[in-house]
Amino acid sequence: MRGIDYIKEHMFDIVIFIFIMLFFWMFGIAFRVQMDFLVAMSGMFAVCAGVAMVRAYIRRRGFYADFLGKLGQLEKKYYIAEMVEPPDFQEGKILYEALYEIDKSMIEHINEIDALSIEFKEYLEMWVHELKVPLSGLTLMNYNESVDYKAQRRLLQKLSHYVEQVLFYARAGAPQKDYLMKRCVLEHVVNKVLIANKDLLIEAGMGIEKRGLEHMVITDMKWLEFILGQIVNNSVKYRKKDKGKLSVTAEEEEQRILLHIEDNGIGIPAHDIERVFDKTFTGENGRKGAASTGMGLYICKKLCDKLGHQIWLDSEEGVYTRLTIAFGKNSYYEVC
């Protein structure tokens, strides 16, 4: 804050003051006031005005110098509000309070992003860990020149499964709108998913039942394929010893279309049901069967949230597990 600029800004006030002094002198002379008195009073007025101006200047200069100085030194400039003392003049206070709010919202946002980044890193560590299992299996089989193609295919499918999963994990967490809502026939998507996982399903001897899939829904097909793929994989993973059955049906309600994927697998204990969509949920089943990152359903839920679909799970331990996805018929979602 430079003195010269300050004076230039207050030039108007200074000019007004000079005019007032002129009038003062004119009246003084008209009323035959003594010259000495006039001079003394003018001098006093000038000194008062000068002191007032200088005081205002010094207050502000002090604050702004401190403010700009600290700002220059700070690496994380959005912490400035914490580093300076609130000033005692009004414009300064307004500036200070505004800055405080601005910085607070910025810091909150940064914390959110940091948390996402940490979460992603944690997921990635877990993901690499999971990936190493089929990789080391294949490495060993290759070294042994194994001709067990079925086993190799199984491990390769697991690899593909995880590769796809990490892509969708990123998409689910990204703030951008990465998806394209389009009308599609449920049967079409379901068939694709069944065929994509046919090796797994056929080997497990799963019987397939489909019903009511002629309904059309508005969704991102590729995302829905991924979600259904995760669910189907879970059904195979957590099936009972034999006569495994997978039933995919759809029904229409007034405001929405429901898609049910039900299996007759080992089910989920009642107390675990509300946590199935949590991050890295493993629960009891994780310990019983194959180790799992537990991220599958978590990612599915996030994807559904983004697409505006609801997803929930019903189950009875030892009897069945059913996942339901609800698609809104709301024309708000219609694109073309």
Binding site: S160, L180, K182, N191, L194, I195, A196, K198, D199, L201, I202, E203, G205, M206, G207, I208, K210, K222
Partner: protein, 220 residues
């Protein structure tokens, strides 16, 4: 035999693809140089082209346009990105079909089959003795008689014919039917194979499909 040109920069992948094609009744042809591709295709008289969209130094879509300038040869684009945009781009520039990596090899073969079916209706016939199957129209002829077959029955007979002389496992058959969106299980397969046998017998072509216990079925 149909000739299929494979335009792919990764040598490993290219060789594997050619091998896959050769094993499945086609003649695979590799193209590794990406200048003068249209001429090479024309010279080799390829019946179909597998074109990778992400080639180094050559835009797959541009290559497609170059090919399309002078030729109607069917092209299947192979890509690692499967967004709607990529599919739209490929189809609007004249590709006949589109498949994203990593693909299940049997699905790629199915796509190729489907493209050929669309291209030459009424020309593809599978024959064995008195049995003739018009693939494009999905009809079975036994001698002079047309015989009605369900989708599954036709699929089973088609697959057995294509692989005649070789024992085909039950899983293979189930997998093939699944590719055609018929999600059969073990029992359904048995039922359908027996139905096919009965129909063949009824029309004098009995004992064509032999059961090899523990291994599968054999036609021929």
């Amino acid at each position: 035999m149909k000739r299929i040109a494979v335009i792919e920069d990764d040598e490993q992948v290219r060789e594997e693809l050619i091998s896959l094609l050769n094993k499945n009744g086609y003649e695979g042809l590799g193209i590794a140089q990406f200048d003068g591709v249209p001429q090479e295709i024309a010279q080799a008289q390829a019946d179909l082209v597998l074109l990778d969209i992400s080639l180094p130094g050559a835009d797959g879509v541009n290559l497609l346009r170059e090919i399309r300038r002078d030729s109607d040869v069917p092209v299947i684009m192979v890509t690692s990105k499967d967004t709607e945009m990529d599919e739209l781009m490929c189809m609007s520039f004249g590709a006949d079909d589109f498949i994203a990596k990593p693909y299940h090899p049997s699905i790629l073969l199915l796509h190729i089959e489907a493209v050929f079916k669309r291209m030459c209706k009424g020309q593809e016939m599978l024959e064995y003795g008195d049995i003739r199957i018009d693939i494009a129209r999905g009809k079975l002829m036994l001698g002079e008689e047309a015989v009605e077959l369900s989708k599954n029955e036709l699929g089973i007979l088609t697959y057995l014919l294509k692989n005649r002389g070789r024992i085909v496992s039950r899983d293979e058959l189930i997998s093939y039917l699944w590719d055609s969106e018929e999600f059969v299980d073990d029992n359904t397969l048995t039922v359908n194979v027996n139905r096919v046998r009965r129909k063949l017998e009824d029309h004098g072509a009995g004992n064509v499909i032999k059961t090899k216990r523990g291994q599968g079925y054999l036609l021929g």
